[in-house]
């Protein structure tokens, strides 16, 4: 069979939601949250590196991350983890022929759970 060169330049089109169905929106959402969580992992490791610089540096850093901008960032991480994790369950189930015909309903149901959980965490984080 003929060679088929990869087209990585088209990767950006994965994130174009125009004229796409709900399945594609789930596909795009999973990629954005996956990339976001990967970036966060690196940031998290850098933050942990503060521990090596002694208690004062660490306490100073913790004081900084308690401001509302950092809290909003943390909420984004929680939202990404919930969306990615719950959508991952949907993909895991449907990928092996279970409930494949109900993937839209699964997506709507699980994302409803995600939204409720995000709102709960937002209230907890910003009112305590």
């Amino acid at each position: 069979m003929a060679e088929h060169p990869q087209k990585p330049a088209n990767l950006i089109k994965w994130f174009d939601p125009r004229n796409k169905s709900l399945g594609s929106w789930a596909f795009i959402l999973n990629r954005i949250t996956g990339l976001g969580l990967t970036v966060y992992l690196f940031l998290h490791l850098i933050m942990l590196g503060q521990l090596a610089r002694g208690p004062e540096a660490y306490d100073g850093f913790i004081a900084l991350v308690k401001n509302p901008i950092f809290l909003a960032g943390e909420l984004l991480v929680i939202a990404a983890a919930l969306i990615h994790g719950l959508n991952g369950i949907r993909i895991g189930i449907t990928s092996f022929g279970i409930a494949g015909g109900k993937q839209k309903q699964l997506f709507i149901g699980l994302m409803t759970v995600a939204v409720i959980a995000i709102v709960y965490f937002a209230i907890r984080m910003f009112t305590h």
């Binding site: 069979m1 088929h4 089109k13 004229n19 399945g23 594609s24 596909f27 494949g100």
Partner: protein, 237 residues
């Protein structure tokens, strides 16, 4: 009584190595006509150099698949009313993920070869229940298979967009449908560019004009492949 709408067709044009562009044609149409009717009229009365593929006009041959306002459509069964409004625009482009031969016509050779190599049967027994795999080998009446090989699912697939080596939804659905997972077919479908490459966007099922449900078939194929591997591991035939 028929209505008359004024619509503008924006047609993708490309000849050889020339840069692509869009030609605009304002037309009076009946909104219940199909998108293909307008394209044929442009060819007949405005521009005889326009190249496009079509044949049966009733969604059996699968030749007239195109992008209509950014969505994969079989243009012979897509009413103008469903894609635009009076005074609106119908942008018509060739399918994605296939090399463009000229204007709206694409080269589907590799796709047809792949369909053949996985054992897709264009004509099946009447007892062959296309949806969800029931099969009656005793039935000797024949009918056309549901998949009309239009390629719309390949065009809509985000993975085919970046990985032309990916077999694509119709081919994998064809393998699932044929039911004959012989070693040659297994080599193709149980591989990096086979059933495991699908990333579950379900766009193939959305655009399929024949209710083949390729996404469901890919997932079912995976189930069969996993089952085979488990049986093989435990030495069960």
């Amino acid at each position: 009584m028929t209505q008359t709408w004024t619509v503008t067709y924006e047609i993708f044009r490309k000849k050889g190595n020339q840069a692509s562009h869009y030609d605009r044609f304002e037309m009076k149409v009946d909104p219940d006509e199909y998108v293909l009717d307008g394209i044929e009229r442009i060819w007949a009365f405005n521009d005889r150099s326009l190249v496009f593929s079509h044949a049966c006009h009733h969604s059996t041959c699968g030749a007239c698949g195109m992008l209509v306002n950014g969505v994969e459509k079989l243009t012979c069964i897509t009413p103008i009313r469903s894609v635009t409004k009076d005074g609106g625009v119908i942008r018509v482009e060739p399918m994605r993920n296939f090399p463009v031969i000229s204007d709206l016509s694409v080269d589907m050779t590799v796709f047809y070869q792949r369909m053949e190599s996985v054992g897709h049967q264009p004509v099946v027994s009447n007892g062959f229940e296309d949806s969800k795999g029931k099969f009656d080998p005793e039935d000797d009446l024949l009918r056309l298979s549901d998949c009309i090989e239009c390629g719309l699912c390949i065009s809509a697939c985000p993975i085919a967009l970046t990985t032309p080596a990916y077999l694509g939804p119709a081919v994998l659905a064809g393998a699932q449908q044929s039911g004959d997972l012989n070693p040659c077919v297994l080599d193709l479908v149980d591989s990096e560019n086979g059933a495991w490459r699908c990333h579950s966007a379900y766009e193939c099922t959305e655009v399929c004009p024949s209710h083949v449900d390729p996404a469901w078939r890919i997932m079912d194929l995976r189930k069969k492949l996993v089952s085979r591997r488990i049986k093989k591991f435990f030495g069960i035939k």
